[in-house]
Symmetry: C2
Subunit: 320 residues, 2 copies
Amino acid sequence: MAELKSKEAFQKAEAISKKLRRNNLRIEEFIRRRGRLVERALERWVPGTDEFPPLVHKAMNYSLFAGGKRLRPILALAGAEAVGGRAADALPLACSLELIHTYSLIHDDLPSMDNDDLRRGKPTSHRVFGEGPAILAGDALLTEAFRLLARSDLMKNVPPATRLRVIYHIAHAAGSLGMVGGQVMDISCQGKKIDKHLLEYIHSHKTGALIAASVYAGGLVGGASPKEGRALSSYGRKLGLAFQITDDLLDIHGEPRKLGKSVRKDQAQGKATYPALFGVSESRRQAEVLLNGAIAHLRFFDPKADPLREIARFILKRST
Amino acid sequence: MAELKSKEAFQKAEAISKKLRRNNLRIEEFIRRRGRLVERALERWVPGTDEFPPLVHKAMNYSLFAGGKRLRPILALAGAEAVGGRAADALPLACSLELIHTYSLIHDDLPSMDNDDLRRGKPTSHRVFGEGPAILAGDALLTEAFRLLARSDLMKNVPPATRLRVIYHIAHAAGSLGMVGGQVMDISCQGKKIDKHLLEYIHSHKTGALIAASVYAGGLVGGASPKEGRALSSYGRKLGLAFQITDDLLDIHGEPRKLGKSVRKDQAQGKATYPALFGVSESRRQAEVLLNGAIAHLRFFDPKADPLREIARFILKRST
């Protein structure tokens, strides 16, 4: 009897582990395929290095094709697909998010901000092209994002009014009330003691806002109902904050070669982080709570939302 | 008989001079009234200094309300009105153009670009707020421009598809194929000998592109026909280039107190200018040819386009 029970438990554990392995393979395949779509679309739609003037287009393309994970674009596609939309319709949105993310990295790395020499394993933009051209390449990438979102030859299946809503939400998430606001607080709090509310503000704005907007705007393009939109938005906000917490954890434990950027810089720069404020294990716990909460927001979605669920699990694994 | 002829000529000259004075008064009144509309709209729509985080919003508002002439917004309103549209419908567009123009000034003034300490009679943004916050304030102003253009509570009389076209053209004019492209060439050609083609490229992109887009996008909002759109676009391109030429001339002959910025900097920085390449009087002649050409593009417009005609004359007077 005990043996039978044990056998049953073993089989159950095996089944779960098999399902996990399968899901894992499936999400890795999903990320790979969607990532490839994004890569090709970026190459097709963003002005190439042969455009005039060469300097700014070389700088734009250098950072854009430096091996980013394309998390935000993939989340946008997954958001559109979760509500029954087509990935193809969300591709310009996906690319615009990567353009905005890339601009923010170039500007964050500048000497007057985080002063980073290494990004994704390569010298940062201002180290290669000079500070002026790096600032301008960032400006151009940000502008290009909105040009792409408004192109008349793309997104023909999406109603113009919906496209305006997408532009509004992306701009809101990227601007002074979103990502830029978070970055401003981040650089002005360096070396200062801050409480957990301010830290949460910085993380949820600097990183969280654009990640949340990616999922939500993807949903809009996919034709989300208001209820679905709210759920995607809640999922995105929790995922975005959890992502930054795991990023903090990687800054402590990660290897520079694997991450392609300098590590243990947060402490050196006197930056407030979750591990610094709460310790490593409590930070991990908070990330886990957030990611499980994110998944819970998707409870009334069908299996088309599985990639979003798996991406949350994927992010959790990063930090452990 | 000779006396009679002389009297006739005198009366004719008087009539012309009276008409000129009247037009002058009228255009000044137009600029003042439209400027006031823009001022109030900027105050109403752009996040104020009480928004969080204070630093970035203070920096944004500092540069936005530093006494700019609001040329681009006024051109957008005049463009809309020239084709029978309402100024009110074009106000969000007008404000977005001033946001983009202001961001470009903040970034242009940075130490890694033109390294200017004075702008519109006040210390430049990075001198007041530091370099990092100044860069971020510029980023936020640019982003805010697109948020404003996409707001669902504004521009309700303008079809969403038209609004997308407006966003596209503004982004195109502001990005790497427009204004940013011009600025990149400007900073990379400092101290180098360049020919007139490259100089025309720099001027028509750095300054001309956004000015041309202002008029054209104003026309779109006002419901311009394709023929009207093409005429406004041609007018705008000539006006934009002429404006930069007169700016070069003012850098030589202007008084810093009146201009509110440093003068004779172009030469000190080894910048190519029209006066440096062609001499003062030939530059004036070229500006005049361009402005007369700009006005000629409006020949089939009715008196509603008079403000556009008068603005061209107004710019010509700046340089003489």
